[in-house]
Symmetry: C2
Subunit: 154 residues, 2 copies
DNA sequence: CAGAATCCTCATTGATACTG
DNA sequence: CAGTATCAATGAGGATTCTG
């Protein structure tokens, strides 16, 4: 539980700010799996190869548009591979590339953490909401300016 | 490199789709650290406590608005704590809560992965772009409909 | 200094219709 | 089936201004 610091410190040699994710590994990884669907895709494909529709059914609250785009980005980054079988109708299978496999362990660590801690998190959240429910942080009397009429009126 | 599957499978017992991040640990963790700044904050605070402005300088391409909001969310979830020193001018210090500490190891695993693999990823990306540069996926002749004039014309 | 409040823009996503 | 193309809506995030 302390070798984490080594990674943190190694990371901290980067500017940490302003880097356009070119040098900063944190932003790099977040841009890759931090989006809404990539990690779900990786998870599904970790079990076994899936066809397009299978993935759609597995996640089923993703739109076809985002499914296509997410898979395309993952393929582009070399995390998954795409195999087209020229049947009729066509059938396309996606599988985890070795690079994607190498991501499974780090991801599993994160999932384990989420599993262990989501209870504490929800508890903390409930506590926070109960405490700071009102009184946001400081109390600004909200000097009356203009009545909040704020409609763009097409 | 195989105990990852245990986590994956444990995860796969969840519906995987449609869950509003209430039951799905993957979405849970992504909603928490998958945003643009949370992980950076955790990293910075992993080294030592920081004051508001210190964090702003450390990241310095975050706006004060997002800095405030991100810190607030992290505090709400119990990952960091906030200590107000009633000096003049006020000074507020943020530190990692135990719950936040527990996240360091999983995060470090991810950072390590990013460090090791971003080279391969960029290579794969360049390869993909060179290959599929045009010819997106299938070749649709793009039946001429309307010229792509598509400006909202305020 | 450490935020809050307001406004506004653009990127991400969803919905729909179409195709080989 | 496995996408593509287009449009519409949402929401995250930035810029600015104000306060104790």
């Amino acid at each position: 539980m302390s070798n984490a610091l080594s990674a943190i410190e190694r990371f901290s040699r980067y500017p940490l700010g302003e880097s356009q994710s070119v040098h900063c590994p944190v932003r790099d990884v977040l841009d890759r799996i931090g989006d809404k669907w990539s990690m779900l895709m990786i998870m599904a494909l970790a079990m076994r190869p899936h066809r397009f529709s299978e993935l759609h059914r597995a996640v089923h609250d993703i739109s076809k548009r985002m499914l296509t785009q997410t898979l395309r980005d993952l393929e582009r980054d070399g995390l998954i591979t795409r195999h087209v079988f020229p049947t009729k109708p066509p059938s396309v299978e996606y599988r985890l590339a070795p690079l994607g496999q190498s991501l499974l362990d780090p991801m599993a660590g994160l999932i384990d953490w989420a599993d262990r801690c989501h209870g504490d998190i929800h508890a903390a959240r409930a506590r926070f909401d109960a405490t700071h429910g009102d009184v946001p942080r400081q109390v600004f009397p909200a000097r009356s300016k203009v009545p909040p009429v704020h409609k763009k009126m097409a």
